[in-house]
Amino acid sequence: MSKPPYARELKVCLCHICGFACPQDAHECPRCFSPVHVRKTNSLARTWAFLIASIIFYVPANTLPVMYTSMFSGGSENTIMSGVIEFWQHGSWDIAILIFIASVAVPCMKFCVLGTLLITCQRRSCWAMRERAKLYRFVEVIGYWSMLDVLVVAVVAALVQFRALSTIEPRLGILFFGLVVVMTMLSAMSFDPRLIWDAEVNDVE
């Protein structure tokens, strides 16, 4: 069975924005004038950089309190994990699982997935290429939902302001958590999934 030709063989490359098949040596898309690259520039390095930054930010995001709750029975600061544990101990295991998945499991999974993708691409591994491509698409999709925690804190802090009765204030930890999410998204965006398949043939650049 004959495989379809590679774009490289036809000396064309796709514009990232409008999908126009540009000549390979073009620097701008002839149609929409956006920069054209055969592969995303410096993809691996950028992905690595954003990934490492997000891992670094992940530490204060988990150790610093994200939320200060002041009820009339005293105030307390909660980190992400202590909030999860508190919910779990009070019997709200469903909310606890939801927060755990959104705030802990998903970022961790993204670190693992992106790390795996990066390492395999660098080693030009031919292992489970199709699955890796699926993983990448999955990471891109769930990236948006990682902001759930930040959103919850923002909404709750804005709504629960009853002066003496109860107040909820955001704390520094949520800023770092937001940065983690942004960094992982940037990291995922910098990654070029075509690199997965480049292991089949010789490198393009």
């Binding site: 410096n42 950028r46 950089a49 930054a53 670094i56 930010f57 029975s73 005293g74 960094m183």
Partner: protein, 558 residues
Amino acid sequence: MSNNPNIPAPTPGTPQIKKRRLSVSLVWLVPIVAALVGLSMVVNSWLQAGPQVHVSFQTAEGLEANKTQVKYKNVVIGTVTKIALSEDRTHVTATINLDQSAEPFTREDTQYWVVRPRIGANGVSGVDTLLSGPFIGADAGRSEVTKEDFLGLESPPPVTYGQKGKRFTLHTDDLGSLDIGSPVYYRRIQVGQVISYNLTEDGKGVDVQVFVNAPNDAFVTDDTRFWNASGIDVSVDASGLRVNTQTIPSILAGGIAFREPNYSPDAKPAPEHYDFTLYNEQETALAPPSGEPKFIRLRFNQSLRGLAVNAPVEFLGVNIGRVVSVDLDYDPKTQGFPTTVGVVVYPQRLGSAHGKLVKQIGGESEEQSAQLIKRLVDQGLRAQARTGNLLTGQLYIALDFDPKAPKVKFNPNSRPLEIPTVPGSFDKLQEQLQAMVDKLSKLPIDSIANNLNGSLSELQRTMKQVNSDVLPQMRGTLEELQNTLKTANETLDEDSPARQQVNQAMDEVQRTARSVRVLTDYLSRHPESLIRGRTEEAAPGSYKGKSSSRNIELESQP
């Protein structure tokens, strides 16, 4: 697909070559910045971290790890990070992370306590903790030494660091109703409070620490008297019933009042930690100082029913001491049961007499006072149990001079000194009564009664005779007398004919008298008429004109 008709074919030219000067991508700045931020935060928190202390409490009631705050003047200075049982499980240990600025709270004499809602007679405190939950209060010490392990107080310290005022120590026999926080009053104004109390080392008294706030601490002089102002003081004296109290809270919760005596000429403000005595009531507190007590033993050969401990001892009517013990003794010689009474006398209460006596004997040592008492006993000083209150039979001890008392030997070397006694006044009265009763019982009451009986029956017989014979006659006589009186009455009545006749007769007499007078007048003027008869000029008309006023009156009468 390059030959798209919509776009012109790219003109060949020099290719745009972008050459990166640095071989390292700028994107690596992002993780570096992230690492720097994280590192700076670590350093910052490490620099910001304050000291950690461990405070042990009896109970962790209301305390929660990572939630309970430590406050000083309601400013948060730290948080409880861990609560654990002690190894022997007798108390709990709270680990507290203090802020960096809370360095003074690691000083050795820093105090920690749990602020909970408290309701007492002195008021309600910590109400806000009902809602917010307890917090740990802290009060920085002033010691130079720091430590990590503290013993938490179970109740808030009444006096916080830096409060101006002075502490004083009061000695008393028992605490009464005082407690930590009991108020201290000066002229019924609260100026301080009790901050602590403890038993003295020998366990025979209580030391009460009080704190008097500035500026009122200046009123505490070295001559100031403190007394227990708890309760109600009811006294009955010549001016009537008097009820004396401090404020209502002090009645309920106890309190201490102080004042200087009315006359304290050279009193200086007392220094901090000055020792005072806490008296039981105002009267004893403000009394002149009693000085050193002297113990004296008295031996009575009589029942001392009604003599209680604390009964007064009076010397010539002056209260100089009190009874401290009443014990029964056995004397094998006489096989009697004498009562031994221990009394304490305060010689200084004698006032100037005491001073003069001391000067006379030249000292106040035990030997010299024994000699003094010997001299007084030789002069007739005797102790006597007297009745102070006839109703209740309360006794008191009176020391008095009895010149007629039999001489006794006084031993000045015995300790305690023993003053001879004479029987009490009530005993004497009893003896006299007994003698009187004896005499009465010797009277021949039986024969007296027999005689009396005979006389009485004689009298009875006489009375019977009087009733039967004399009384009816008496009645007839009386009736007749009544008739006579009635007739007399009728005769003398205004309208009776007898009375009218008398009136007429009287008028006649009056007229006759007048005629006679006219006649005599006429005769005195005209004596010749006796012979000649009445002349013309001497007619009654001419006479009339010269008549006196009395005559006119008489004439004009009808």
